[in-house]
């Protein structure tokens, strides 16, 4: 993915009959726009003709995809737990450092914005003296940590569906990873009753509350799910209970079989539609039969 090859096909720097290089190129490559790759491959001498190109492409994609699948399936819940904790650490430290850098920079430069965005702006400045250099360096470290946080989030997006396909689909990759981390692993999550799943994560909020940093907790981490947060307050208990029940089943399906179970997701959608229909019924306005 070097810049001078930013518009080149996967075969550009792959020696013929080098499956490893082909795999790296297919896996890691990236270009904005496609091109007539078969023609370009023939012109560049990579393939003799279009048929030969497609034969090589077949070998390369089969190999690259087989390896990528194996790698993703090797990913386990421990890796996911490390990734989500590292992501949270990066976010927290990035914010703290950005705050410090912004506060310091405010005493030296004009027009300094708050937060990570402010730190990024400071990081782009030219230093006038030794102290400037320290302020700018600090800000660029905060920005780099924020970037690392985003990379970790992208990794979780990729790994979670491999580790727990049902849970990741139902909860979204990040919440799935958080639930697994809070329970201490996919197996222990699969063993928990749904009432425990419903309040997982409320422990942290409780300690935050006791140390004066947050209001008292009313829900666990599943509160971040659209099904709970997007439901009107009087129905949130029902929504949280229904969601937790299905999440517990999803975790069990993922741990004990690993197969995607469409019926679980259908059941939850129907249950949520019923709960949300209450609001419509009370509103009285838009109640009509399907």
């Amino acid at each position: 993915m070097t810049t001078d090859e930013s518009d080149a096909g996967w075969f550009a720097s792959v020696p013929p009959d080098d499956p490893g290089a082909a795999r790296d190129a297919i896996d890691g490559g990236s270009v904005e726009s496609p091109a007539d790759w078969p023609r370009l491959a023939v012109e560049s001498g990579f393939a003799d003709d279009a048929d030969d190109y497609y034969d090589r492409l077949r070998e390369a994609t089969l190999h690259a995809t087989r390896e990528a699948v194996a790698e993703r399936e090797r990913a386990d819940d421990r890796q996911l737990i490390h990734a989500v904790r590292a992501m949270d650490d990066c976010e927290r430290v990035a914010n703290e450092l950005a705050e410090r850098a912004v506060e310091w920079a405010g005493s030296r430069f004009d027009g300094v914005d708050a937060g990570i965005a402010g730190a990024r702006a400071i990081a782009d400045r030219k230093p006038d003296d030794g102290i400037d250099r320290r302020v700018i360096s600090l800000a660029s470290r905060a920005a780099a940590l924020a970037d690392e946080r985003d990379e970790l989030a992208a990794t979780i997006d990729r790994v979670a569906p491999a580790v727990a396909p049902n849970l990741a689909d139902m909860a979204g990759p990040e919440l799935a990873a958080r639930l697994i981390a809070l329970a201490g692993g996919l197996e222990s999550l699969a063993r928990k009753p749904s009432g425990t799943v419903q309040v997982l994560g409320a422990e942290d909020a409780l300690f935050a509350h006791l140390s004066g940093r947050a209001p008292s907790p009313k829900h666990g981490i599943i509160y971040t799910h659209e099904f709970v947060r997007g439901t009107r307050p009087e129905d949130r208990g029902s929504a949280a209970r229904a969601l937790a029940g299905k999440l517990a089943l999803a975790a069990r399906a993922d741990h004990y079989s690993g197969e995607y179970r469409e019926v679980l997701h259908e059941d939850l959608r129907e249950r949520m539609a019923t709960i949300r229909a209450r609001a419509d019924a009370d509103g009285g306005a838009e109640v009509d039969d399907e």
Binding site: T61, L62, A68, E259
Partner: protein, 211 residues
């Protein structure tokens, strides 16, 4: 309803029923008749679209980009009648099955990629493909179609199955379809739409061509 099946897709008598069929190695235990194997419209959105008489503009032998190939059930039939077929799937588990399907075929190229990020496979998938077949069960199905328009030839076809429940489980499917079509209009001219409910509940079949 015109019967405009591509070459390589036929209605044949298999197990006492007239069914869609293509020629290729069996994939999922489907009934076969010699080298022909039945294409079950209940297991395949594109199969459903052919069964319902959509004018897909396909005549056989096309270069195809298939988004959301899953285990390769439909992609296998596409590869049977089309030319080079690029099959994109994001989840590792179904891709393992897709690999088996691809091993048994000469021109089916499996890619473990996210259809929402075409730049991660634009160095592999060629430009000017004749058709994009899209069956992805994520939110933002219109955005996926729009972003992947870069691969499609000017006179190419988008064959899209929209799953209402992937966009918003609580909304009326008809409202979801209207929104998806409105978003598509920015990039595509929609030629034909029809509900696939006979085979797939709360799905809309769409045929479109780039503007």
């Amino acid at each position: 309803m015109s019967d405009s099946l591509p070459a390589g897709v036929e209605r044949r008598e298999i197990d006492g029923e007239t069914r869609l069929a293509t020629r290729g190695p069996p994939v999922y235990g489907e009934p076969t008749d010699g080298e022909w194997r039945a294409w079950d419209p209940e297991r395949s959105k594109l199969g459903g679209m052919f069964e319902l008489g959509f004018d897909t503009g396909l005549s056989g032998g096309e270069t195809v980009l298939y988004l959301g190939a899953a285990s390769g059930t439909t992609a296998s039939h596409v590869a049977d009648f089309a030319g080079p077929t690029y099959a994109v799937e994001f989840a590792p588990r179904p891709t393992r099955d897709l690999l088996e399907v691809a091993e048994a075929r000469d021109r089916l190229f499996p890619l473990l990629k996210d259809a929402r990020k075409p730049e991660t496979y634009a160095h592999v998938v060629e430009s000017g493909v004749d058709a994009i077949v899209q069956d992805v069960a994520t939110r933002g199905q219109a955005a996926v179609a729009t972003r992947n328009a870069r691969f499609l030839a000017d006179d190419g076809r988008l064959l899209l199955a929209v799953k209402a429940r992937s966009e918003d489980v609580t909304a009326e499917p008809a409202d979801v379809f209207a929104e998806v079509l409105a978003e598509l209009e920015g990039t595509y001219e929609v030629i034909e739409t029809q509900r696939l409910d006979r085979f797939h509940e709360d799905h809309l079949g769409v045929v479109a061509t780039p503007r």
